[in-house]
Amino acid sequence: MSVDSEQPETGSGASHGLSSAALPPVGTAILEVRDIGKHYGNIIALSEITTSVRAGEVTCVLGDNGAGKSTFIKILAGAHQHSDGELIIDGVATTLGSPREALELGIATVYQDLSVVPLMPVWRNFFLGCELTKGVGPFRKLDVEQMKLITKSELAAMGIDLRDVDQPIGTLSGGERQCVAIARAVYFGARVLILDEPTAALGVKQSGVVLKYVAKARDRGLGVVFITHNPHHAYPVGDRFMLLRRGKSMGDFPKQEMTLEELTAMMAGGAELESLAHELEKTMGPDSEIAKTIKADSP
């Protein structure tokens, strides 16, 4: 179960993905959005968001529940089409018709609902859409052994020790499933890696591994979009922080301009936090950890 530096380098998969486009220099905007908006029927989930995802940078998207974070990244991933504004990829305004188009541009995504097919075995889920094959012509067949092997080892590297990669993924625990989704995206992500609350269901150790992956991807020059509710996860790896509230952008801040405390306060909704801390103090006694933490965080 040890996650040590001797193990083979995983998640270094520029060559695995559908696209093997060369990575642009660090700091170049790979994805840009301008005044982008999205509504579902009469529900306006997102409006007038402007930001960019740059090579070698981690953009954290922060915000309350229902703020529109998942909606935002689904647009970047091609899973939803935006209703207003412009989505610019490599300098060209486009609309991603399907997630496959995004994948072909080297954009890999971990969705909040994970996008796994419950009845299929773990290894089939891992390689779904990018299956390894061997043989030629009509006899080209899946390289089952290889795929099982890779799946097993990639998950092991995340600290997930599966009994059997042939198990239907629907029978895995929540965290195990999340790890499969992350390992898959990291393995296939070529230029941009989008992670929607990847650490939500993970244990301390697994979370650490994911953060490590994020940092590694950044160092390799990928653009990363990272969503989390945990400021302790966001702050160490993030380069820029975009704050959403009720579907609107509250701004886009570089790391230099803020401290962890400011970030936490921002995520929790500022002023309102104080009253919560107050209340927790009442219920749990003033020496309670959480009350102290929240109190310390509130401005």
Binding site: M1, S2, Q7, L18, A77, A79, S98, P99, R100, A102, L103, T109, Y111, D113, L114, S115, V116, V117, P118, L119, M120, R124, F127, L128, G129, C130, E131, T133, R140, K141, L142, V144, A156, D161, L162, R163, D164, R184
Partner: protein, 348 residues
């Protein structure tokens, strides 16, 4: 990490047999064996070469369709036009050759092209409109049924193809689609029909595709969770349209087998059969909701259906009760099937 592979204390011992038992088709296989033994013991003719040739033949055309329909069902869709398609393609060839004197191979090709086109239309309609395939293909079914009847009537003045065997090169085509091989030398009984070989071939190919190719992976995925599959980058449209075309293609094949075995088709050929195909697929372990099942299981399902159908005749039971027997046997087969599967799944 490495310690986890061998002797994981979280897994109890499992034999290879138990592993095999977890395949979706295992229940259908057991049920098929039970039914075979039952009729072989209780009737005389059932287990003879000539008896077997009869029920194999009955099972074969249904089996080919059931396998195709199983793929489609694993992909999460239905095709109610599959039955009418078998009649349609046969009629097209029959009308074109007997009435318009078209070369038989050209006619066969035309009908294949038409079938694939209809399949593609089904698929594209389903995917583009977001309507359930049950409804879309029901529409196609009705339309095909109407064309089969009215078109044939208008073109040849009757409701069944006549005089097919006088068409030039008929024998060529019959070789491929309608011939039979004697098993025990004696002319009477014990033939294996071409359709049986086609059936075995199709089942083998379908199983291979399903388990060992990318396409197979995609079929499971689009049926299991279409949104997830799309999000992960599976070409959902292509996969589904392909499945509808496969089913239509199988319908064409069966149409040819029927036409060249019996040298005729009628305008209502295949109507109502579409549900038999679905039944065979489900008996063979496919889930109605998609994402799970097997091609070989569907073939076993068809075998069960074929055996029961003929076995009841061999048993000499009062024919009016045919349907009731069929129902009881089907239920019995599926219950046995489920019981075997459950046992297998919880086996230690």
């Amino acid at each position: 990490m490495a310690t986890a592979t061998v002797g994981d204390e979280r897994i109890s011992q499992t034999s290879t047999l138990t592993k095999l038992m977890k395949r979706p088709e295992i229940g259908a296989l057991v049920a098929a064996v039970v039914i075979f033994v039952f009729f072989a013991v209780t009737t005389e003719a059932f287990a003879t070469a000539s008896g077997a040739s009869t029920w194999l033949r009955g099972a074969s055309t249904i089996g080919i369709m059931a396998v195709a329909v199983a793929l489609l069902m694993i992909g999460g869709e239905f095709d109610l036009s599959a039955g009418a398609m078998t009649g349609f393609t046969g009629l097209v060839v029959g009308v074109l050759t007997t009435e318009y004197g078209l070369n038989i191979w050209a006619a066969i090709f035309v009908s294949l092209a038409l079938a694939l086109m209809i399949g593609a239309i089904n698929g594209i309609l389903v995917m583009r409109t977001g309507l359930p395939s049950f409804i879309v293909t029901l529409g196609t079914f009705f339309v095909l049924q109407g064309i089969d009847l009215a078109g044939t009537k208008a073109l040849i003045g009757q409701v069944a193809i006549q005089g097919m065997s006088n068409v030039p090169y008929y024998d060529q085509a019959k070789k491929i689609f309608g011939s039979s091989i004697d098993v025990n030398g004696s002319g009477a009984g014990g033939q294996i029909y071409a359709s049986v070989f086609w059936w075995i071939g199709i089942t083998a190919v379908a199983t291979w595709v399903l388990l060992r190719t990318r396409t197979g992976n995609w079929i499971f995925a689009v049926g299991g969770q279409q949104t997830a599959a799309r999000q992960i980058g599976v070409p959902v449209l292509k996969t589904k349209v392909g499945l509808f075309m496969t089913t239509a293609g199988a319908g064409w094949l069966v149409g040819m087998l029927l036409l060249f075995t019996t040298s005729t088709v009628q305008s209502n050929t295949g109507v109502g059969q579409e549900f038999i195909y679905i039944i065979c697929a489900v008996v063979g372990g496919c889930l109605m909701t998609g994402g799970y099942g097997s091609a070989i299981g569907a073939a076993f399902g068809a075998l069960i259906y074929g055996m029961v159908n003929q076995g009841i005749v061999y048993s000499g039971w009062d024919n009016n009760w045919l349907r009731a027997f069929l129902g009881v046997m089907l239920l019995g087969a599926v219950l046995l099937n489920e019981w075997v599967r459950k046992r297998a799944e919880t086996a230690q």
